[in-house]
Symmetry: C2
Subunit: 321 residues, 2 copies
């Protein structure tokens, strides 16, 4: 029998909810998924079957891990959960109604994490009995594979609750990113949309093919960003004077470059060009085949590439630009 | 004795010029570096010593590779080069004067590649005798380690010259990115400045610490972008309908997100905050120590991580969002 402190409840058994359930279950939590849809149980079984394999390859599967299971009603909840991970569709009224119902079935200090990418904790807290324990914990998909979780409290979230939540996500091996202020899109989506805006601009204005732009990121920028983030790149460009020297000498050039970046629109011509470019990138592979490539690559990356402890031996290095 | 078809001349023995010299020499070319500065020879020797070690670890060092050497004058040029890689400081008049002098010493069909990040081939071609063989070949630093080269012709560049150049960069193992139109910053710099603008906005408006934003890229986005570029991410978000479905359903949301991205300024307060955040990221490591971390990570990545041929075994995958 599981001890009560290890119980997790997931609201919604869609892709994100099921992915969360696999992440928690793989780490040894007892996980129930509340979903009244008949498709939920087979989907959860299928994602557990894939996900536990991934976690095993990552060396992150608890030997005592038990499969997550679907429940149809709160009466089936085996014990009081320590955390509820809400992963319902992105509709405010639906989420609010579910939160009201939820609060009547769980202890007042049970953590409630919303997976929402578009809503804020402050908005979701309205009308709650105990809003202090609600916050956003936004994963990348699939949650059992992707390493980051964005944690964002609302106006009424108690810092102590965020601390308890962080410890739980750390126990899944996640990197927790802390938002000090609520913004739509949190960090990850804003950053990838900022990059993609210039991708679309460069493709739409005929500067390069979408495939070559994709390669510029996949083979040029991304391998460097793994060890040298977007600010550190410019820190190194300043030589031993670092970012301070870079900003002093090249700050105006950076602002000039920013002013020159594109502001594209997704009109029908641009959309057609993007879809055509994407077909060239996909080379006949379906989205699910490409997702498999990504999953294999993420696992291989985690297995073989230890950023902090790379073992090859380079004794010195040249300067930077 | 080297055969003449393997001779390369590099103009300028600074960090980029010396790095190019190492890249060409490591691949078996006979490389001379024209630089009248007394510091050029020891710098070249030092960068060769580091760079050949890196190339050996990458399995990319020609067994017959000979060290590149500095020459002080065209009279010392051992044979006619097939390609001149210009890597002089980013000053138009200086580059133009060097190109005029250069043309009187080389055959009319010798390729001339400028490493410029800020000038265009069309501007550099003005006043040349044979402008058809001049183009931009922009590396990332250091050129012997970073995998991409951006190739950008000007108004007068002959396509045949670009074809010959591409074959030479391929012989160095480089990924060639083709610009169809000249733009300041080419692809790589524009893309990284687009991402960095939002990084600066998020830090400057207090949404998260610079260190947490750096982590969002290093641990969240970059590992995924290695196998799944910035457009493919949204292709997968469309499920089996791919990018077309994503754009149809979420195009307006993407444009809304774009409109909400920041437009920061590098005022003194923002610069101070960035420098402070960078100190937290660096954790006492100097820029040259961080550059060593990056070099080791790039080598480890190239050695261990084969994007196209990852060997672990995941049989299926869930869907996407």
């Amino acid at each position: 029998m599981q001890i009560p402190q290890r119980n997790i409840l997931v609201l919604g058994g869609g892709l994100i909810g099921a992915g969360w359930a696999v992440a928690f279950a793989g780490a040894g939590y007892s996980v129930s998924v509340l979903d009244r849809d008949a498709a939920a149980a087979p989907r959860l079984a299928s994602i557990w079957s894939v996900g536990r394999n991934v976690l095993a390859q990552l060396g992150a599967l608890d030997p005592e891990a038990a499969a997550p299971f679907v429940i149809l009603d709160y009466s089936e909840l085996p014990a009081a959960p320590i955390l509820v991970q809400e992963a319902l569709p992105e509709r405010l009224e639906l989420k609010r109604a579910a939160l009201v119902e939820l609060e009547s079935h769980i202890p007042s200090d049970c953590l409630i994490a919303s997976s929402s990418s578009g809503l804020t904790a402050t908005v979701l807290q309205e009308g709650m009995l105990h809003p202090d324990r609600l916050f956003i914990a936004h994963p990348c998909n699939p949650p059992y594979l992707m390493p980051t979780v964005e944690l964002s409290g609302g106006t009424n979230t108690a810092p102590e609750m965020l601390g308890r939540a962080e410890a739980i996500y750390h126990s899944l091996g996640k990197t927790v990113l802390h938002l000090r202020r609520e913004v739509p899109g949190h960090l990850i989506n804003r950053l990838q949309f900022a990059l993609w805006r210039e991708v679309v601009h460069l493709a739409a204005t005929g500067v390069a093919s979408l495939a070559d732009i994709e390669m510029a990121v996949m083979e040029g920028l991304a391998p460097r960003w793994i060890s040298t983030g977007p600010s550190t790149v410019f820190h190194l460009a300043g030589g031993e004077g670092g970012l301070a020297r870079f900003l002093a000498e090249l700050g105006p050039a950076v602002e000039g470059c920013w002013a020159n970046l594109g502001r594209p629109h997704l009109d029908s011509g641009t959309c057609a060009l993007l879809v055509e470019g994407m077909a060239e990138i996909a080379r006949g592979r379906s989205p699910s085949e490409l997702a498999m490539v990504r999953n294999r690559a993420m696992v291989a990356f985690a297995q073989h590439f230890e950023r902090a402890e790379v073992s090859c031996n380079i004794n010195q290095t040249g300067g930077e630009d």
